[in-house]
Symmetry: C2
């Protein structure tokens, strides 16, 4: 696997664009398109929130019931959630407009929205935006970046990625773009994540792969514990690399899965590290747990703890808060028989053992907490299950961003 | 039921004191005693955290296995959690010292600690503190307040309360003191809560009552989602009012239960409203839910949502965040068939109906969010179950307090 310079339109046959449509604010890119010259096999994962945004319902129907899709239209500024039947009709109008201009079926157009919940889309500006997007879409590097930038809301970092793999001697490319960065506690996947590939892959195989992979990637991150109404991950495969079709149970399936996992994990970590107001990415790795499920529960409890997050912001080696978060996670364990380490870029410190803190150096510990990636390693000494979760510190800026967000 | 001026030593036969013992900081009251002239029937509720502080284990043993208790010694500054066998031995040493001086059994002395996790108690200063407490304990009003102030940590408000009821023509008094205000997401009860009464009550009756009542009071509040290692609620009844012993299934049981519920609910709301850094108490009342359990889950999800809490801080009527929190709570419902109201001290506004926001006045809504008690009413229209949960807004000061707390 090779990481290459590129984004959502790096695979063969994909075009992208990002433009200004004034959905909610002026002078910023706020609509994006992904278009494939050939129909794509699509798999997806969507929010588990009972309140699902209109575009989530629209996309879910296409992924589950249509043979293929060929384009995605995304807007930021307004989430089109909590908008009732009117909101649902705007998904259809958006897709219809794109379908007409692209000469593809209405039900081959996926839509995505992110932003404020409750407001209705300015459908005329959205339709005008679709016209601009169809004209602007292109294969060049800059167009991919424009699309990725257009889906950012409070994100401070553009999150795109592309990798190359070899399937049966044929070069296959995967590209991705994702956005966070608040209301992030995915329970299916992140707010908006798109992955494209020119691989030829069986729909059942792709669906299984996506379903399995989100559990250890997007579902293991949290910025603020709030599971969004709009969480959507879509993986689109157009087959233009002309490899032998990938099916389950083959070496090629594993090679492709590894590349997809790398993309999903990298993008998930970027979402966590760029959480609203965050200074640092927090990683909690749990090893030797009794079950995989408990490993996940323990790791996630630590990165979700407000007190642990605030202690990282304050560079305070207050390990009691980590111990406390493990303790209330719901997983059973013996606090007398586990170990906690702080891990810096160049060192590892044993902090807690035999039910008590060790005689560690506060100064050294504080130094680790000052790094841009703060890592906690928890050894449960119960079995051989492992899981990793990612979050970010809790800062003044998180409060500022979210006290002001809508106004 | 009559609210009276008084606190933990208001009932007949109870003495209290709060003194400076320099457990961690100088020049502040940091140790308290509650002492009863007669042995007390005791019921309690303790943290569900797997990591239980030494005093929690000590008290749990007494409440479950001893016939009575007669005194409580509490310190702040150090939580005596994550302290292994050494920490456990300090509970015993503290109790032994008090037992000697008070001439009561060691296993009649309950202990409580709150503060930083992981540090060991300075046992010599603790024992010196016990000596001072035994000398200082008294029945007067000020001594009760001193005890209540001595258990405060980041609390900004002293939380004591007393009520009088009549049982079979006999006056019975209940007194209470409680402390918050971070690591508050009780799952049995709050961090430290003490209730005294001169009622004569059967142990089984008291135990049942406490167990049932915490579910709708302390367990329905959250400041930061972190369930402490030290959560303890103790209710001590010394029988000195000389009423006919209260047993289950009587009118007297209901009268006493109502008074205890009032105390627990009032103290729980005070803990939420005085959450670390809080400007406002947030109340979410869910009505007409399908089950009591779902009503609790829905109400608690709203008051735990970081984004909702930050929006209240910003006085932003961002109801989409409330809808979102209801949606990811885990309870199933139809977003098209529920209603959300904002309730001020003098008005009630319908904000969401038929799956969409109503045409409400932003100005009026913002005014409600500026009150010191912010109330959300959610009508699920599914059944007749009701629950209420309490939390607080998320402010810069919460981050400040918890980035700095230990240093």
């Amino acid at each position: 696997m090779k990481i290459i310079d590129g984004g959502i339109n790096a695979p063969i046959g994909f075009e992208a664009a990002g433009i200004e449509a004034e959905v909610k604010y002026k002078n910023r890119k706020d609509m994006a398109i992904i278009y494939s010259k050939e129909p794509c096999t699509v798999a997806g994962a969507f929010t588990s929130n009972v309140v699902k945004a209109a575009p989530v319902l629209w996309d879910k129907d296409i992924v589950e019931n249509e043979p293929f899709a060929q384009a995605v239209i995304v807007n930021t500024g307004i989430a089109n959630a909590g908008t009732g039947k009117e909101g649902m009709s705007y998904c259809e109008e958006t897709a219809k407009k794109a379908a007409e201009l692209l000469n593809i079926p209405v039900k081959a157009v996926l839509v995505g929205s992110t932003g404020v919940i409750g407001a209705q889309l300015p459908i005329d500006r959205i339709k005008a935006g679709v016209e601009k997007l169809v004209v602007a879409k292109a294969e060049d590097r800059e167009s991919g970046t424009n699309a990725s930038k257009a889906i950012m809301t409070t994100d401070t970092v553009n999150k795109e990625l592309a990798v190359e793999i070899e399937i049966d001697g044929v070069k296959v490319t995967l590209g991705a773009m994702s956005k966070g960065s608040g209301m992030i506690h995915p329970n299916m996947c992140t707010m908006l994540g798109y992955v494209t590939t020119d691989a030829d892959i069986d729909k059942a195989a792709l669906t299984k792969m996506v379903k399995e992979d989100v559990v250890d990637t997007y579902n293991m991150i949290s910025v603020d514990g709030d599971t969004s109404t709009n969480d959507t991950l879509l993986v689109m495969a157009n087959g233009m690399a002309q490899n032998k079709k990938i099916v389950e149970g083959t070496k090629e399936y594993e090679i492709f899965k590894e590349a997809l996992h790398f993309i999903n994990e990298t993008q998930a970590k970027r979402l966590a590290g760029d959480g609203e107001g965050a200074n640092a990415l927090i990683e909690c790795k749990v090893i030797n747990a009794d079950t995989k499920e408990n490993a996940r529960i323990l790791a996630k409890s630590v990165i979700c703890s407000s007190l642990t997050k605030a202690a990282v912001f304050g560079k305070d080696a207050n390990w009691g808060r980590i111990l406390c978060a493990l303790g209330y996670s719901g997983a059973k364990f013996d606090p007398e028989n586990m170990e906690l380490y702080y891990q810096g870029s160049s060192n590892s410190m044993l902090i807690f053992k035999n039910g008590m803190g060790t005689d560690y150096s506060e100064e050294e510990a504080s130094k680790i907490l000052g790094e841009s990636e703060v890592r906690f390693l928890v050894d449960m000494k119960m079995g051989d299950a492992t899981a990793t979760a990612w979050g970010c510190d809790l800062t003044y800026d998180y409060v500022k961003i979210n006290a002001d967000y809508r106004s």
